[in-house]
């Protein structure tokens, strides 16, 4: 009799499935969701769909602008990150928006390299440790540097999300295999 033994690495790959994670997140309070790659065309489609949804369902211009601002930043951060050729074919992402009792959550998921996890985690923890006034100071000091920094928009992006949402950033890293992890980021905004 022949037994087929899966290598631990293969088992890990089969253990993580973005579609399964996406289905698990879909809830009654989901008002927008997207699963797929994020080419320029798809990014435009996501942004247009969300804007239409906000325009049709929210009478408060302030709220609509707040949510769209957060969505632009978070989806464009993803788009820019996905340019990284080292991601190989790991280009699937998801974007969720949920609404419950005047609290809005934007949740995104994407793959990244294991080697990047520590850096991003440190950065989010640093941002989460700051109060509103300190966040503003940090934002201004990065802005002051202008376009000299080659890091793209991401340096300012997370700070912007924390500042505009007024809440701590929630995140989760899950190791997928010896090369990739999966990153879930959750931005919360309460309209009060």
């Amino acid at each position: 009799m022949l037994y087929l033994q899966l290598s631990p690495m293969l088992m890990n790959i089969s253990a993580f499935d973005i579609k399964e994670r996406y289905n698990k997140l879909a809830r009654k309070d989901t008002i927008f969701s997207y699963l797929g790659s994020l080419t320029h065309h798809e990014l435009n489609h996501v942004l247009k769909s969300i804007e239409l949804l906000l325009t049709n369902n929210y009478s408060s211009k302030g709220l609509k602008k707040k949510l769209f601002n957060l969505l632009i930043e978070i989806t464009q951060n993803l788009f820019n990150y996905l340019n990284n050729p080292r991601l190989e074919d790991r280009n699937a992402v998801f974007v969720f928006m949920t609404e419950s009792d005047n609290t809005y959550k934007i949740i995104t998921g994407n793959y990244l390299l294991n080697s990047e996890v520590a850096g991003i985690k440190t950065r989010i923890e640093m941002i989460n440790s700051l109060n509103n006034e300190e966040l503003r100071e940090l934002y201004r000091s990065i802005l002051d540097i202008g376009i000299v920094s080659t890091a793209g928009g991401a340096g300012l992006g997370l700070v912007d999300l924390a500042r505009k949402s007024g809440r701590k950033l929630s995140y989760r890293f899950e190791e997928v295999d010896d090369k990739f992890s999966f990153f879930t980021l959750e931005v919360t905004f309460t309209n009060d």
């Binding site: 408060s60 302030g62 602008k65 632009i72 201004r140 802005l143 376009i147």
Partner: protein, 128 residues
């Protein structure tokens, strides 16, 4: 000097930079994925403008949305105007809608880091 103008698109603003009378305008949306590429020609135009600016330069910023990569480019534009301001008067009007506290705070950010007079101008909502 020639003008630098661009018509707006769903992701990029109207740019109207009049080199003869010094009236400049940035309005609409500035949310391109590659802001640096978009603003580079304007920054080059401003380098030439700095050499012989008008007696007075007025920039009106009236944006509905802008992303963080555009904000870095706005800093660069305002830095060019700082240099103009060393020889000729410059003033900037930063418009924001009443309900848009993020846009107001952004105006305050620029005011804090740029050495050109920036006036925050509230635009009343149209209650739609």
């Amino acid at each position: 000097m020639n003008n630098y103008t661009l018509t707006p698109t769903p992701k990029t603003p109207r740019l109207y930079f009049n080199g003869q009378n010094g009236e400049f305008e940035i309005s609409g949306r500035s949310i391109p994925e590659n802001s640096i590429e978009f603003y580079k020609p304007l920054l080059e135009w401003l380098d030439k403008y700095i050499e012989s600016p008008c007696d007075e330069t007025k920039l009106s910023v009236n944006l509905e949305y802008f992303n963080t990569s555009s904000s870095k480019c706005l800093v660069e534009i305002l830095r060019k105007l700082e240099r103009v301001h060393e020889i000729k008067p410059v003033n900037v009007k930063w418009h924001y809608e009443e309900e848009d506290e993020d846009m107001m705070e952004s105006g305050e950010d620029f005011k804090k880091i740029i050495k050109v007079p920036i006036e925050l101008v509230v635009v009343k909502g149209d209650n739609d």
